[in-house]
């Protein structure tokens, strides 16, 4: 089981560490309250995938990026968006389908976007965004820039053809892209063992294309950050893509309708005991970078922020009905009716 410990020396200063801890707590709280809004308030519809348990992967990796780098991910995208600095208000409003949402209520849970933050989306067709990431990196290289694209996907995506097409071209053209597999062991309800001939994903996703691979505990936030930094530096230096197999665990089912019966209770209990947020709090206390009182204050602040986001989302206007035809094309859109 994945352990959220770090043996490495601190790679961040105290302030940065506190920011990361708060981000992880914010993501956790966002998902808890969004689930409540979904189940209790019937305010959220459609597919809804929670990030709880995987927070260190997004926060640790995004935490080492520059402001002008790019991020693109799959449909379990709330955590990455918040880690990248999207406001909880814009995220919650999107879940409620409001015009103030990060995609004006047209994307929903699976399609968060924030052009200002270089957040190129949640993408809901498994594997479909992997080539996009290579394309973004292609543009960066084409222009001679040192901007990097970090692309997240789940362990299930490794079985899609487009992933391998993109990995091949990214490697061949030495594109500045970092691929991070959030290996939470389950592709929906199918475990890795039941879907992959070789369980080591680096063997499938990196070795064939000559891409340097890292297989790490993704729930160790500082290890995650350190590994990503290495990969990003490689990319900026023009040495091409890297492949990070970040082992993690999702607490909830695949989506809101999934009771998770395909895994043992002990497995989940074990993960919860090693909750990465609790472990990081513990570590920071040990380092003397934070005390319990500050953590409690932080938790209160996070709660407050999420409550405000709910308030904001609920009081926001839904998109007007004629927004149906807006944002389809840049040219004036002519409905072919």
């Amino acid at each position: 089981m994945v352990q959220a410990r770090t043996e490495a020396k601190p790679i961040v200063n105290r302030t940065q560490a506190q920011v990361w801890l708060r981000q992880m707590m914010l993501i956790r709280r966002f998902e808890e309250r969004a689930e409540m809004m979904y189940q209790k308030g019937n305010k959220i519809g459609g597919f809804f995938h929670q990030y709880s348990g995987q927070e260190p992967v997004a926060v640790g990796s995004i935490g080492v990026l520059r402001e002008n780098d790019y991020i693109i991910t799959a449909y379990r995208d709330h955590g990455h968006a918040l880690a990248r600095g999207m406001s909880a208000k814009a995220g919650m409003a999107e879940l409620l389908g409001k015009s103030t949402g990060c995609s004006k209520g047209k994307g929903g849970s699976m399609h968060f976007f924030d052009v200002e933050k270089g957040f190129l989306g949640g993408h809901a067709i498994v594997g479909s965004h992997i080539p996009l990431a290579a394309g973004v990196a292609f543009a960066s290289k084409y222009r001679g820039e040192d901007r990097v694209c970090v692309c997240y996907f789940g362990d299930g995506a490794i079985n899609q053809g487009s992933v391998h097409e993109a990995l091949n071209m990214a490697a061949m053209w030495k594109l500045p892209v970092v691929y991070i597999v959030e290996n939470n062991l389950y592709a929906m309800g199918t475990s890795l063992a039941r879907s992959s001939a070789v369980e080591d994903l680096t063997v499938r996703g990196a070795v064939p294309y000559g891409i340097p691979a890292y297989s790490i505990n993704g729930n160790d936030i500082e290890l995650m950050a350190q590994t990503t930094r290495d990969a990003v530096n490689r990319a900026r230096a023009g040495e091409g893509p890297s492949f990070i197999d970040a082992k993690t665990y999702r607490y909830k089912g695949h989506s809101i309708s999934d009771p998770g019966k395909y895994r043992h209770k002990e497995e989940l209990d074990d993960a919860l005991r090693n909750d990465p947020i609790l472990k990081y709090q513990e570590l920071l206390r040990e380092r003397g970078w934070i005390d319990q009182e500050a953590i409690d204050r932080m938790a209160e602040g996070v709660k407050q922020e999420i409550e405000e986001s709910i308030e904001f989302a609920e009081s926001s206007e839904p998109p007007p009905l004629d927004a149906l035809y807006e944002d389809i094309t840049t040219a004036p859109f002519i409905p072919q009716e």
């Binding site: 989306g121 996009l132 394309g135 292609f138 960066s140 084409y142 694209c149 053809g161 071209m169 040219a331």
Partner: protein, 325 residues
């Protein structure tokens, strides 16, 4: 005015646009070292180098997606499918990512990309390599679909397509590549979304596009010998449809025949016919007729393939039918 082949006109359009805008680049199978499977990109590698003329492996889904990703952050890729038949393996990218991106992101991301390549029944290519997918793409809100029929339109429309900030599906026809025609030099832009009346007439409106324009014009000449003046409209842009031009003509002639290489059922003509009927039902003196490909996979045998195509005979028969002759 210079007389160019269709492929030279396309080549000229790409060359001029790449010279004009550093963000424009060409990517696809055999576009560079091979000089183009159909020689549309001939000479471009030499002129622009491998940074902007990019050979890809046989990974249509992959390089279509790479093009889209690059477009999302400001480049203006021209992605060549060796034939549009191969776009079928990239259709997820074209539909889910290129067409939807702007909408899903609430208008935050545009995808200024051109997917172009040959298509259609080009002779003995059989079922997998002869697809006509215009109706598939024309159905998708977010895509612009263009199908030129003449060298001049090929150049003017491709230049306009490259400058469009939305994804354009630019479908060429393989049998047209060697067609010659006068092509204006330099800044020749044909507007997207505008059909052109290629022949004026009063008795019946013939609506067509791409390769079928030729047979349709020939049919119009044959009909003229029989005293029937057919108006021939070349759609040029499939989506958005230039409905105004069609309606103006149909209101004048009261009859329409749609000529298409597409399959009949749910084919492009079905959608066009529906839109005309909705608007000007009371102007019609006969049901709209369609002359489409036969409803069968495309055979290898040349005579069988030929029998599927809209022919002068089939077009004139349909016209006589709507004229009650």
């Amino acid at each position: 005015m210079a007389v160019l082949t269709f492929r030279e006109a396309l080549n000229q359009a790409m060359q001029e646009e790449m010279e004009r805008d550093q963000n424009v680049f060409l990517m696809g199978e055999e576009v560079a070292e091979y000089d183009g499977a159909y020689k549309v990109s001939q000479g471009l590698l030499k002129k622009f180098g491998p940074r902007r003329i990019v050979d890809t492996p046989i990974s249509e889904g992959g390089f279509a997606g790479i093009g889209i990703g690059a477009a999302m952050v400001g480049l203006r890729p021209i992605v060549e499918f060796m034939t549009f038949s191969f776009s079928l393996v990239a259709i997820d990218q074209i539909v889910n990512n290129a067409a939807n991106m702007r909408y899903m992101s609430g208008g935050q991301f545009a995808v200024p990309i051109v997917f172009r390549g040959s298509s259609g029944m080009a002779g003995c290519l059989a079922a997998t390599h002869s697809h006509r997918l215009e109706a598939w793409y024309a159905q998708i809100p977010g895509l612009t679909v263009v199908m030129p029929a003449t060298p001049s339109d090929a150049k003017g429309l491709l230049k306009s397509a490259i400058r469009t900030d939305d994804p354009v599906v630019f479908i060429e026809h393989e049998v047209l590549y060697h067609e010659r025609g006068e092509v204006p030099e330099g800044e020749h832009l044909v507007p997207i979304g505008k059909a052109e009346i290629k022949r004026e007439g009063t008795d019946v409106t013939l609506i067509t596009y791409s390769r079928s324009l030729k047979a349709t014009l020939a049919a119009a000449e044959a009909l003229a010998d029989q005293g029937v003046q057919a108006e021939v409209i070349d759609l040029r842009t499939i989506r958005p449809l230039d409905l105004d031009t069609l309606l103006t003509s149909v209101v004048k002639t009261h009859r329409a025949v749609i000529v298409e290489e597409d399959w009949p059922y749910c084919g492009l003509g079905a959608g066009i016919s529906d839109r005309i009927t909705q608007r000007v039902f009371d102007e019609l003196d006969a049901p709209i007729r369609r002359v489409a490909a036969k409803d069968a996979p495309i055979p290898y045998n040349k005579a069988l393939e030929q029998s599927m195509l809209p022919s002068v005979d089939r077009i004139t028969a349909a016209v006589r039918d709507v004229l009650y002759l």
